[in-house]
Symmetry: C2
DNA sequence: TTTAGATATGTTTTTGAAAACATATCCAGA
DNA sequence: TCTGGATATGTTTTCAAAAACATATCTAAA
């Protein structure tokens, strides 16, 4: 019997400084901006207000050596946003880091799950 | 010149289910209960209200096969709390998992830090 | 039998982050 | 030159999580 229930989700947040951090939210936002071509559309997909998405991008752009996202205003379609090379690099690095971390701790994760209550989600 | 500034902090949160998760906060709480011998004292050390600490312990006790923390009431000192064997096991497993994850992703972490802005904390 | 210091909970208040709302601005193309 | 759809921000409102406050309860030991 395959026991695929209870697959735990591994969330990583990297805190670089008091106001500089990166976690699952910003990563997903970058990803969606890459595929959508706009901050507004990415935000909509994530059920996030444009303003919030815009703010997150602002902090991301400020915390790295150069902007991860560049934007254009006006024109056909009204404008848009796209990842810079650095943006793509940071994103893929973060994703790879996630995988490495998960792989490195898989054994322990399995052991932890063993100790969980049998009746999960039973709140 | 040692460049120990900007040592990033790696935070891991494991989400087992919709209402079942464990992260740095619960881990530290377990640790301090172990060393303090009481929920109240542990909470004080963490600047956390007794009520909140007590609630966190409640959810922890509920999500594993057996309680991680047991408590006594009354008596000299008024009572106290201590980790069960399972509690100690979960805690050390979580700590080990953290280390494994950090070790597994250290290379990528280093690479990420390289891309950070030079002027950190400059908000 | 009183006390001390902890556990155990209910109730009210704060507050800080996110949402919601509101505009202003930009500009290629029709 | 008007328009559409996006960026860019300021302002107000909501709301849920945490804090704060308030008690009640337990019990070994003095």
């Amino acid at each position: 019997m395959s026991d695929d229930r209870n697959k735990p989700i591994f969330k990583i947040r990297i805190v670089f400084g008091p106001h500089e951090m990166m976690g699952p939210g910003k990563a997903e936002l970058l990803e969606r901006i890459d595929s959508c071509g706009s901050i507004a559309a990415a935000g909509r997909e994530m059920d996030m207000s444009y303003k919030r998405a815009w703010e997150l991008i602002g902090t991301l752009n400020a915390m790295f050596k150069a902007p991860l996202v560049e934007r254009t205003r006006g024109g056909p379609g009204g404008g848009g946003a796209f990842l810079t090379d650095l943006g793509r690099e940071v994103l893929s690095l973060y994703r790879a880091l996630e995988e490495d971390a998960a792989a490195g701790s898989a054994k322990r994760m399995q052991a932890l799950c063993t100790l969980l209550s049998d009746i999960p989600g039973e709140k």
